[in-house]
Subunit: 330 residues, 2 copies
């Protein structure tokens, strides 16, 4: 097996995206900007209240894998779909982007996961995720050869929601480290951090995870502090490298002895923030796997994130390699 | 039953939209800018070669119904989906837009229709349509009360492709005329005109159709002439009213004794021409049903068409009523 730049592991989700006004979120008890977990019954109810929508393959780490491939990197993905039409769409889209995806689909119920994403006029997305087949991802889905062939294994904190995915992560991380590779994670969502704070800190402190991606809110949630500086100092001590995104303020990359600030790109039309963090991670990881400086890794992240938020949907329609070349980053 | 502004009848299709380069169309024998009819086997082949895609409800007359509703008009739709996931998506989207849609879905095979739409860098769309469940639309699907309650019944020429839809059209038109209503059609596509030229002319000359929508290419194909002026004079004699779109040249509305030129709106970023004609018809028909001047009908058409081509997908994400108010048209 040839080498991969990045192996991504995450919930395999098809996004159902519609616009709504602020009142809709309140009336329906949807926490704005967050990933709200829902069951099948609530999924049906919300869909019945949702406006006309479009469907697009999503899922946090899946978006990152697609972004790495669009930048010209070699990417692989582990994630569970069912053998249904949404599963076929998901599989088509990620493979068509050039990502190696061979997780065996679930036969029968539950169906492929979907997330109803409501985008408010300010561009913020509020997700309502029915995990469906994702609850079946487990250690039997770990492909050892890919885990050992990937320079970096990257997974989403969201994987602590389904019951057995964390076992898959721990196994993959062990294989990766055995082969001298690095392991990265994203904290995913402030509420997700709140649910699994102790376990996430343990992943970092035990050395299961080397590199952490977070946005400012997730980082503060992790250390239960209102101070960004306090949280940044804390994570610096807890992992080898942290990349923290701060929306229009850009991002900060921190190691034990280095702090690299990175600017955001200029946004002419903020349409939909879905995928911003995922694409930042894609740009960063592609840069990191191909041996670039931390500043250039961050710049690649800023570019990919900046492009995805100027369109609807979680994966940029542009060829990111071409865009990065135009921007002088490749 | 309360009155409808417009009843639309068409193939109920979910669009699968991806970008491609010019070479892809040639290599795969896809006629650029046209609606290419394909069978299930070719659908599978093309999908396997297609890049990452997004899914959105489409279908020509369905897009028009959605546009009328978005303008604040009351719209109804007849069209056949199957009882599968794509059928649920189609039904959700058109109803969520406020369109009355009650055609009984097909049980079992064939599945809901889909069109693989390839968008080239120039924004032109090339469609590859697998008709699926649409082939089952027939006169038994005509809801007489809606046909008689709609100020205008509008259908797509594409309905001559499935075997029995034309019977549904003739029956609906008879009901509509019995109630003193008007009937409109779109010529749909130059190749479609080529397939059914005689029947389309007969629909017009027999008075089954009062109002005809066409683009320049379809109009020339109908009369097998290279001269726009010749074709325009011909259609003036064959129907009560014709609205002919000419891309960036705007449109011409022609009756027996009147010719009204209408400007296109300024386009800052041509992204995807899918739905342009459908939305022109939506704007025009909404204006016509609400008693506006032909010029204002055309302007509403230009606005709706101009908005849809500056985004991906066949139905504008804006609230068209709001946009028309901003533009001083409502």
């Amino acid at each position: 097996m040839s080498e991969f730049d990045v192996l991504c592991i995450g919930n395999a989700i098809v996004d159902i995206i519609a616009r709504c006004d602020e009142a809709f979120l309140q009336e329906n008890g949807i926490i704005k900007g967050a990933m709200n977990l829902i069951d099948a019954e609530r999924a049906e109810l919300l869909y019945s209240r949702m406006g006309p929508a479009i469907e697009a393959s999503g899922g946090s780490a899946g978006n990152t894998a697609a972004g790495v491939a669009s930048l010209g990197g070699s990417a692989a993905f582990f994630g569970k779909v069912s053998s249904d039409h949404l599963g076929e769409i998901y599989t088509h889209d990620i493979r068509a982007q050039g990502v190696a995806f061979d997780t065996v689909p679930l036969k029968g119920e539950p169906p492929t996961a979907r997330s109803m994403i409501f985008v408010t006029p300010d561009g913020e997305r509020s997700m309502n995720t029915y995990l469906g087949a994702c609850v079946e991802l487990g250690p039997e889905d770990v492909e050892r050869d890919k885990a050992q062939a990937a320079k970096i294994t990257y997974f989403e904190g969201y994987l602590w929601d389904p019951p057995r995915a964390k076992e898959a992560i721990r196994l993959t991380a062990a294989y990766a480290h055995e082969a001298g590779r690095e392991v990265a994670m994203t904290l995913s969502d402030p509420f997700c951090v709140d649910r699994y704070r102790g376990e996430f800190l343990d992943l970092m402190r035990s050395g299961t995870v080397d590199i952490v991606f977070a946005n400012e809110h997730e980082l503060k949630s992790l250390y239960q502090t209102a101070s960004f500086e306090t949280a940044l100092e804390a994570i610096r001590a807890d992992c080898k490298l942290a990349a923290v995104t701060r929306s229009e303020l850009g991002s900060i990359i921190a190691t034990s002895d280095e702090t690299v600030p990175v600017e955001a790109i200029e946004i002419s039309d903020l349409v939909d923030t879905t995928g911003a963090g995922d694409l930042y991670a894609a740009g960063f990881l592609f840069g990191y796997a191909t041996g670039r400086s931390l500043l250039d890794c961050g710049r690649l992240g800023s570019l990919a994130a900046g492009l995805v938020i100027q369109q609807i949907g979680p994966r940029p329609r542009q060829n990111l390699r071409h865009e990065a070349q135009q921007a002088g980053l490749l």
